[in-house]
């Protein structure tokens, strides 16, 4: 009897701890949303739990000075393209490395492993210089095309395909005379889909949040991605001089993610879990 009461108290404390932690995760967003409805002066004067009446005014300041939806569309376009390219070609490469014996396979795999350790910043200067020489700064090519070659994803998918695809499955269609690429599309890809989905989510989030490389490569106003746009908020005097507008601009950049996550969190998280176990 005593034990269960003790257990229940402990359990209660644990729940309180968990709830506090959850609040901590959400409260900055809550403050952000509240403050984005208040005027700069109200925000400086003190905090309130109730929304203020300056949302429209703040929106006017933000929308006049920052094309934030443009930034969002740009980011979305880049992230979607990168994710698709990365998923498809990584799966193809992983399958090629795992199920075919050809000269150079080991070399490719080895070099790939070494480059997984190379931090992106190391090649930043050379990458920038390359884009300069190819005259592809201020295009999305250097932000999208390189995702075809993502060693970490290939590495993961190679392990994955080895564990989910029995070699015997390939025999039948080969006897039927199906071409190798057709076999890949029809049989291998569907089997690999869960693994690909896991990696795709990671790739998408990574691309959506990427800041340093677009910061260096993009300078045309209409091409800027959302993170770069938000990063330059301080230079937009009309927004910087009004705390309410600053909060609103940040809020606009965050809210779509919150909404998507509210609907898909279960799927996203189970995919991440699935991915980490297979590793």
């Amino acid at each position: 009897m005593g034990v269960t009461i003790k257990n229940k108290t402990i359990k209660g404390f644990i729940y309180i701890f968990l709830i506090l932690l959850a609040i901590l995760c959400v409260v900055p967003f809550f403050l952000m949303i509240i403050n984005s409805t208040r005027s700069g002066n109200e925000i400086m004067t003190g905090f309130s739990f109730f929304p203020g009446g300056s949302l429209a005014e703040n929106w006017k300041v933000v929308s006049e000075n920052l094309d934030i939806f443009r930034g969002m569309l740009n980011s979305l376009f880049i992230a979607v393209c990168s994710t698709i390219l990365c998923s498809y070609f990584s799966a193809l490469t992983a399958y090629g490395l795992a199920f075919y014996k050809f000269r150079g396979a080991k070399l490719i795999f080895g070099v790939m492993l070494v480059f997984m350790m190379v931090p992106a910043q190391l090649s930043l200067l050379g990458f920038y210089d390359l884009c300069n020489n190819l005259k592809i700064t201020n295009t999305y090519i250097p932000l999208i095309v390189p995702s075809i070659a993502t060693p970490a994803v290939v590495f993961f998918l190679r392990q994955y395909v080895l564990s989910v695809l029995p070699k015997a499955v390939l025999e039948a269609p080969r006897i039927d005379g199906a071409s190798e690429i057709k076999i890949f599309h029809k049989i291998v890809l569907p089997i690999m889909a869960p693994g690909i989905a896991t990696m795709a989510i990671g790739t998408f989030i990574g691309s959506w949040n990427s800041y340093l490389i677009p910061l260096v490569l993009l300078s045309k106003q209409e091409l800027l991605t959302l993170p770069v746009m938000i990063g330059s908020l301080q230079s937009v005097t009309d927004i910087a001089s009004n705390a309410g507008a600053t909060y609103l601009a940040v809020a606009i950049s965050v809210i779509p993610i919150l909404i998507v996550f509210a609907f898909c969190s279960k799927y996203i998280i189970s995919s991440i879990s699935a991915g980490s176990v297979k590793e």
């Binding site: 359990k11 905090f47 050809f102 190379v118 390359l130 075809i148």
Partner: protein
């Protein structure tokens, strides 16, 4: 005769088939050579020159490297990076581990795993720039909501200048990092636990092992590979810390240059001061350090496992 011919045909067929593997890898290889291998080699070459990003580049051999080793600001920046990463990883992994213990405990059978998991994961999805701006505004010394709330709750009587002191600013960055990423670590650890065969636990229960003993003799060892994975990826990521310190200090690295991280310093050298050659050398110094650290972590953990 017939038979022999058939065999060579089959062999040719299979050879042709294996070649498909190469074709499958081709797009990867080409992109990889252009956008990964070449930039690294180019950076390496740059590091031996006085390249400014425009005009002539003159070969200066190891001048940039000797300068790098003697550059106190770079090493300060490196130490800053280590401090912030260290605190961040302790908080992040500690919290993730604690949560894993809580949710994997058979006795308590905590509910709401999926809800909590989602809430904890949430900060991870928000772009660094938004997070940095949000916290910079919230933590403003005299006019930020964070201090206003703490004062109202009576926790502090004077506003704290969080971003005004070297130590607090570094702690803030580390805590924000932990806040962003602990949910992700938790999910990975939790997935690892769920992957552990229930039979182990049942066997332990039959042996009469207590909660802590079960945890340390079963859960921990089985989680180790995942923890090492998380630690190494966070080390590589952590040593490249850039976005948040850069944005929180408005690109200046203040207070007291405490928010200058190694990559931040490198970025300033290359793109602001236009000393590309020197910045390239810094990048390679940094890479060697990361490689050594990763190798050491690998070695250490492998040896232990063998024992």
């Amino acid at each position: 005769m017939e038979k022999k011919k058939g065999r060579t045909l089959a062999r040719n067929n299979s050879k042709a088939r294996e070649r498909w593997g190469f074709y499958f890898c081709l797009p990867f290889v080409i992109t990889f050579l252009i956008f990964s291998v070449y930039p690294v080699l180019r950076t390496l070459y740059m590091s031996f020159t006085d390249y400014k990003g425009y005009g002539q580049e003159n070969f200066v051999w190891f001048d940039n490297y000797t300068r790098a080793f003697k550059d106190p600001l770079f090493w300060d920046a490196f130490v800053n990076t280590l401090k912030m990463w260290g605190l961040n990883i302790v908080l992040q992994l500690g919290l993730a581990l604690l949560l894993t213990i809580i949710f994997s405990d058979i006795k308590y059978r905590m509910r709401g795993l999926s809800l909590f998991r989602a809430l904890f994961y949430l900060p991870n999805l928000i772009a660094c720039t938004s997070v940095a701006f949000l916290f910079k505004t919230l933590l403003d010394w005299k006019f930020g909501s964070f201090n206003q709330i703490l004062m109202q709750l009576g926790i502090i009587s004077e506003p704290v200048n969080w971003l005004g002191y070297a130590n607090t600013a570094q702690i803030v960055v580390a805590v924000i990092g932990a806040w962003m990423w602990f949910g992700n670590s938790f999910i990975m650890l939790m997935a690892g636990v769920q992957g552990i065969n229930r039979e182990y636990y049942e066997a332990a229960a039959i042996d009469g092992a207590g909660r802590w003993k079960t945890f340390f003799s079963i859960t921990m060892p089985l989680l180790k590979p995942i923890m090492i994975y998380v630690a190494i990826t966070s080390l590589i990521g952590g040593l490249q810390l850039f976005d948040i310190p850069y944005l929180m200090s408005g690109g200046k690295g203040d207070p007291s240059r405490s928010l200058f991280t190694a990559v931040f310093y490198l970025f300033n050298m290359g793109f602001k001061n236009r000393q590309m050659g020197y910045a390239a050398a810094l990048a390679f110094v940094l890479f060697v350090i990361i490689a050594i650290c990763s190798a050491v972590v690998f070695k250490l953990t492998n040896r232990k496992e063998k024992k």
